[in-house]
């Protein structure tokens, strides 16, 4: 068990830190959360700088245009960029963390050449067309169907919770290509151009007030069969490749951010005298221990991934279950520090408190995660 970083890792960190110190002051200010075109331009501008400096697709394999970095280097990258206040991967999230790695792993040479470079350069944005109104956590129950017609699939159905749909160029789309097969067997993975006729996007307002994601309606959209990644009806397996990447290092930056928020809360409580309340003070102390442990758990999972050749293990579900609740606890404590001030919607931390409510729902609800832990790690029998 070793928590020290190697000379190479420390050198990597030092170089990155120096570069961030130089480049971040030159960045334009962050656009408002509802300014989607502005956010797209901002996030892609940042991606372009990463690309030019050689940091794009750090964790991607080198033969897919990435840097082939180790999981530990990726951890350092996420830690340092968050600590420096660099822009979040944002609009480029699906391309860099979902669609890109999937195409890199499962795509043909032509598909890799067509789609991977624009993601790394920051030229194209992807969105995710997985969830459906009637499917939700039971993802494999999806009903959007694709019927083969010559060289095309004709796609009809609807998707929901599609982040960045308004500004995306491509959608990684799961469709049912065999309605008669068992539910996991008849699914295919398509790259759908978002400007194709028949695609309608309707923003969905969240309880946080922002339009974080959208509904998408697909009315006889023609998608070339050449855009299918993996075999027909093999999309579920392809998707599992994608999802396993999400749970590896997806929250590294957020844990760093939460620790920064906690420090800010302590300063605020100190300046307002709330720190003298032992109940609140102890609660903040407990959270400090909690997020310290979550950081160590992140390092543990990354080291595990490094030993097993980069494949994220089941530790991701354990992490997500704990983190999603800890994050909510953090912002509930922030509200306690603010007192009635937490009712003012534009106070610091209030928007984050609202958005933290999604963490126990998104990317598999806590209940689904608990089923995963119980069945796949503990080996308990599947229910009816």
């Amino acid at each position: 068990m070793d928590l020290t970083y190697t000379d190479e890792e420390q050198e990597f960190r030092a170089r990155l830190r120096e570069w961030l110190g130089k480049v971040l002051p030159e960045l334009p200010p962050k656009p408002s959360p509802d300014d989607w075109p502005g956010r797209r331009a901002h996030d892609l501008g940042w991606q372009r700088r990463l690309y030019d400096a050689g940091y794009a697709g750090l964790h991607w394999p080198a033969d897919a245009g990435g840097r082939g970095a180790t999981p530990t280097q990726h951890l350092i990258f996420l830690e340092e960029t968050e600590r420096a206040g660099a822009p979040y991967v944002g609009a480029n999230f699906v391309g860099l963390l979902h669609a890109g790695p999937t195409i890199a792993a499962e795509g043909t040479a032509e598909q890799r050449a067509r789609w991977l470079p624009p993601v790394l350069r920051g030229d194209e944005v992807w969105c995710q067309g997985f969830s459906e109104p009637d499917a939700g956590s039971d993802l494999a129950s999806l009903r959007t169907r694709a019927v083969r017609d010559g060289d095309d699939y004709v796609v009809t159905g609807s998707k929901i919770w599609t982040s960045h749909a308004e500004v995306a160029d491509w959608c990684e789309l799961l469709v049912r290509t065999d309605p008669h097969a068992a539910k996991h067997r008849g699914i295919s993975w398509l790259a759908m151009p978002m400007d194709a006729p028949g695609v309608t996007v309707r923003p969905l307002r969240t309880l946080a007030g922002s339009a974080e994601f959208a509904e998408m309606f697909l009315d006889e959209v023609r998608v070339p069969a050449a855009n299918r990644v993996g075999e027909e009806n093999d999309g579920w397996r392809v998707t599992m490749v994608t999802l396993s990447f999400e749970r590896g290092t997806a929250f590294v930056g957020e844990v760093v951010a939460c620790r920064r928020v906690l420090a800010a809360l302590a300063r605020e409580a100190r300046s307002t005298g709330r720190w003298d309340d032992p109940v609140l003070r102890r609660r903040l102390g407990r959270l400090y221990g909690e997020f310290g442990a979550l950081w160590r758990l992140t390092q543990w999972n990354v080291s595990d991934a490094q030993r097993t050749g980069g494949v994220p293990g089941t530790g991701g579900s354990v992490f997500k279950l704990r983190y999603s609740h800890a994050r909510q606890e953090l912002y509930d404590t922030a509200a306690e520090v603010l007192g009635a001030g937490a009712l003012e919607a534009d106070r610091e931390w209030v928007a984050d408190r609202l958005s933290s409510l999604s963490y126990t729902i998104a990317a598999g609800t806590s209940q689904i995660q608990q089923n995963i832990v119980a069945e796949r790690i503990l080996g308990l029998p599947k229910g009816r």
Partner: protein, 341 residues
């Protein structure tokens, strides 16, 4: 960075698990409980403690010497001093196994006394400490020494080791036995408990946290095993989501605590140790309760081992660092960290 167990550490853990499974399995545990029940009732009734009482109690002196021979107590002593020369991370792994086996006795205090109290390193001496609040000391009648100086803060003796020990007999002179909630942790109350050495508090808390983690992992295993076997409504109860989710949360708690303990053992940072103790205490207590819940009515009986884990977890939660102390230490540390730019 490679924050995973090394091959040697895996071997060490497996070796200790094997030793304890052979030497202190379930039958030995239940026999110890029966013995303590028979002996403990008498001691409480007479209202006093015989400091000379040896054997027949909770601490099995033979096993204690075997643990000593296996290096359990001398683990961190330098090889030149007859020790094994390993560090806190290895000690944490060994204590995790002891916690899993529910091994009784003042394991942590004796380990901390190795090198200070003659015979502790080899398991020839049983050493306890005044690591509980409220004037309570565990295992006093069965111990040869108490870590710490009577009535005053421990002194630094001869440089490195910040501890002195008093003979158990001196501390026991005014001791009054109290009925203990844990049948395998006999307690006495003394008017002036020897103050545990400040230098030992962090390491004591860490090793106790490791014991708690082992217990939390074990109760998770017990719950999962029962949930797979016990059938109700025509299927194993583990197929019901309500039961599944209890088990999943047990694993999450135990795993978070385990990694926190390992990290704290690597850094030996006082705040990190406090955090590990906090999470491990919570994991041990909550997991034992959830394990009891999964066992249903059977879990509420004396025959199930669950209550032994729960009661020991309650004892350990009071040892070396309570939740309140750990949270205050962490809060102070947070404020320090927040003051930095």
């Amino acid at each position: 960075m490679d924050f995973q167990l090394t091959e040697d550490q895996r071997d060490l853990r497996a070796g200790v698990r094997e030793l304890l499974a052979g030497r202190y399995g379930r039958e030995a545990l239940r026999a110890a409980v029966d013995r303590a029940e028979a002996g403990g009732a008498g001691a409480a009734a007479t209202g006093g403690v015989d400091p000379g009482a040896r054997g027949g109690g909770v601490v099995d002196r033979g096993l204690w010497r075997e643990l000593g021979a296996a290096g359990f107590f001398a683990l961190r002593l330098p090889e030149a001093a007859g020790g094994v020369g390993l560090g806190l991370p290895e000690a944490a792994l060994v204590f995790e196994e002891a916690g899993r086996a529910l091994l009784p006795g003042p394991l942590v205090a004796t380990h901390l006394a190795a090198g200070t109290v003659p015979g502790a390193a080899a398991g020839e001496a049983v050493v306890t400490a005044a690591d509980l609040g409220g004037g309570l000391i565990a295992y006093l009648a069965e111990s040869d020494a108490v870590l710490g100086a009577a009535g005053e803060p421990a002194e630094v003796v001869a440089g490195a080791e910040p501890a002195v020990a008093v003979a158990a007999g001196d501390a026991a002179a005014e001791a009054v036995a109290v009925a203990s909630v844990d049948p395998l942790t006999p307690l006495v109350r003394v008017p002036h408990p020897p103050v545990a050495a400040a230098g030992h508090r962090a390491e004591g808390a860490l090793l106790t946290a490791a014991l708690q983690t082992g217990s939390a992992l074990r109760t998770c295993e017990l719950a999962v095993r029962y949930a797979k076997e016990r059938e109700q409504f025509g299927q194993p109860v583990g197929a019901f989501q309500a039961v599944k989710h209890l088990c999943a949360q047990m694993l999450v708690r135990a795993e978070v605590a385990r990694v926190a303990v390992y990290a704290a053992a690597v850094t030996a940072d006082p705040a990190e140790i406090a955090g590990a103790k906090l999470l491990a205490d919570e994991a041990a207590v909550r997991n034992a309760r959830d394990c009891l819940q999964v066992h249903g009515g059977m879990g509420f009986t004396w025959e199930a081992d669950v209550h032994l884990h729960l009661k020991r977890a309650w004892v350990r939660a009071e040892q070396w660092a309570t939740a309140a102390e750990a949270e205050e230490l962490l809060a102070a540390e947070l404020l320090d960290a927040a003051a930095m730019p």
